[in-house]
Subunit: 438 residues, 2 copies
């Protein structure tokens, strides 16, 4: 996941820029005012059941932290989430959910039945199982007081543990909801997964036609509500050439040079701050041996924007850079044994969109943030919510509470100091319960 | 291996440039004139035994080709030569050599005793077992008439098979020599091996104090005599940075950019044609995932020159480029989470040097080339001979005969059409026998 922090006014502006007038966003529910949302959340929070659930989260806090550590230490690289998924499925079962299962894509889930008729609308709350870190990354958790350090611990393993805490708290408090709630640990949120987990959930899964609202809990920051979907385009470009002996074939074109020029030229692009637009030259590989001119070098890049227009512009610039880099290398060195060429493969493509600001799920989540004592930070991001948003299903991405930083870096960390951690958890719990009554 | 083709006059010039006056090159034997060398080679070639040996190579030609294919199809990446080494050791044994063994480094060898006293001087002829191609490369030989296509087939697998042909031919012809001849299949000639096989042979091996002359048979071209050692410097540079989320941490320094700048700037260097000086940006890797700013990207480069001064100049330029690329990236993007740095590791360092042109091994090999009907092409290269040359031991690298091309590329090939193939083989045989009588 990642999301930008931005005041609500700016989001409204951005949604207007995206052409998302309220009338166009069907299926996101009847508009709700901020005052109505505040009342709905207050109704939830003022029940003895809610108080009892929060008291249980407090008592259960050490266990939630322990489960965060247990799950973090089960590696879950993209497409290799199975071991962690099996462990999490067992935890969902132990927490007392029904219909616990792993679907064909590898998502695991369990249902908490509401009081409404079976087969009715479902509110989903999901956290993703995968991390960005490749096989072999040391995922041992290092603890310093309340600070826990490990790759993937905040993005998104803590959220998995918080969902388990919610299930146990709701049961301990004997809280019932009208709608069913589906708790999900999903695969494929990060990079190469390209949202395969939620894509399956919404297009193939057994609940696909019943999902009335979707929360993705991703990252820690509790005041943040991600209702805008940042679009992305990702490429893997393979530069190919004839290759040859570094000394004997000296002077032949080198695909490494075309890759280097592409990296340098892409890193010269300046992007607008608003709408936020970013790129990264991120992964690279190739070559035969140190004493050979390589015959193939591949490069992966990531481009994102809150604006489809800016994304399209960046995309076009990148493709032109690749072409120019190839032409430049073929003009600079000998093509006697063959030219350099580039094979461009689109490996990720996420649509830009938004759940509108006055949709009930956004209003209610903002009210839950306020009720916990925070100021809501609305923003856009590239998270599992992109998928339901692209399908017109109400969705936001929320935080798991506590603090954290350095997501996607080896020195990623979270702080589980209890007051802040617990306070943050109440946001998701109140928003979930309020949406389960609508 | 690789070697440049150059007329003898140019080599003399180059040796003078290198400061290798005759008096400095000790241990390479008493000077020999071209006429004396021609007489010595004629003495060998005019014996009935030599004629019988060549007749045997002719009859044995299909087997030599079959063994070339068998050995080529056993993958032998750098540091993974063991399977091919074991197969070759069995072939050395089957060919009837004595004292067949694998040494501690993985070289395999067998002795053909001469008529001189046991423990006397030994003439070594070696071919290297390793190829540049990594694990998983398809090494299946594709045959089209007399043309055989496969990675590593000419560099240097054919030479291994030709050595076996020599052993059988000498035995069939009942040819004896004064000196012992050691037939070697050695490891570690290519790139990362950094001459570990011959280094062991000359500094640790059981014959290390007995080697009077060294032939490396490497590549096909029979007229070529490599007596100059092209020096090389090889680096693996690891660019490191803080890493982070491609969207959330956008704006942080990216080690990929520093790598890209290094590749682009190095590929802008122009090097002199004479003394031949080359470089290659050859192997690259790194990155966490497509949606992360990488925390480490490594790059391997190869630099070579016939001149130590030019090599030192190139080396300095490269190191300055790396420094400037790192500084540029740190000046261009944010170092808030840490700067980009470069860890520079020297992974290969071969000295420049030469066996002087009037040393017996060079004169005799040139005479053997002429006697077969070719014009000698003296030159410099980076081959197993670099090691003995650096130790002052007479050494040249010669060809296995036939024709070939595209060494170090996946479309490497050789042509085993018999007249040319056989004619080429007589060069090494005559030179070897003449040196074994000195």
């Amino acid at each position: 996941m990642f999301r930008t922090a931005r005041p609500a006014a700016a989001l409204t502006l951005s949604l207007a820029l995206l052409g998302c007038a309220a009338g166009q966003a069907l299926g996101q529910g009847v508009d709700l005012s901020a005052a109505e949302a505040d009342r709905a959340v207050q109704a939830v929070r003022s029940t003895p059941g809610f108080t009892a659930a929060v008291a249980h989260l407090d008592r259960d806090h050490d266990r939630i932290v322990a489960e965060t550590i247990t799950l973090t230490e089960i590696p879950a690289p993209p497409f290799q989430e199975a071991a962690r998924a099996r462990a999490y499925m067992a935890m969902l079962e132990a927490a007392g959910l029904s219909d616990v299962e792993m679907d064909a894509e590898g998502n695991v889930m369990g249902l908490r039945r509401g009081t409404g008729p079976a087969g009715g609308p479902v509110v989903v709350i999901a956290a993703h199982l995968d991390t960005v870190f490749p096989e072999g990354t040391d995922v041992t958790v290092r603890r310093e007081g309340t600070k826990l350090h490990a790759p993937g611990i905040g993005d998104d393993t803590r959220s998995l543990a918080v969902l388990l805490g919610y299930v146990r708290a709701l049961d301990a408090a004997k809280l019932t909801t009208t709608r069913d709630i589906l708790f999900v640990g999903n695969v494929g949120e990060e990079g190469p997964g390209d949202l395969r987990g939620v894509r399956h959930l919404f297009t193939q899964g057994r609940y696909k036609d019943r999902i009335a609202a979707f929360f993705s809990m991703d990252g820690t920051l509790a005041p943040r509500i991600t209702s805008g979907a940042v679009g992305s385009r990702r490429y893997r470009v393979t530069f190919k050439g004839p290759g040859g002996h570094s000394y004997g074939a000296y002077g032949l074109v080198n695909p490494m040079a075309a890759m280097g020029t592409t990296v340098v030229e892409m890193n010269r692009i300046t992007t607008p701050l608003r709408p936020r637009t970013t790129y990264a030259t991120s992964v690279v590989g190739g070559g035969t041996s140190v004493n050979s001119i390589p015959d193939a070098i591949w490069l992966e890049v990531d481009m994102r924007s809150e604006s489809p227009q800016e994304l399209a512009r960046l995309d076009k610039q990148f493709l032109a850079i690749v072409d120019a880099a190839v032409q430049q290398e073929n003009a600079t060195r000998s093509t006697a044994a063959g030219p350099v060429s580039a094979e461009v493969k689109l490996i990720g493509d996420r649509p830009t969109g938004a759940t509108r600001e006055n949709a009930p799920i956004v209003r209610i989540t903002a009210a839950a943030v306020r009720a916990a004592g925070y100021s809501p930070i609305l923003g856009s991001g590239s998270t599992d919510s992109n998928m339901p948003i692209s399908l017109g299903i109400p969705a936001v991405t929320i935080g798991s509470g506590g603090t954290g930083g350095r997501a996607h870096a080896l020195d990623e960390w979270i702080d589980v100091a209890k007051p802040e951690s617990l306070k943050g958890m109440t946001v998701g719990l109140a928003a979930l319960l309020a949406m389960a009554e609508r």
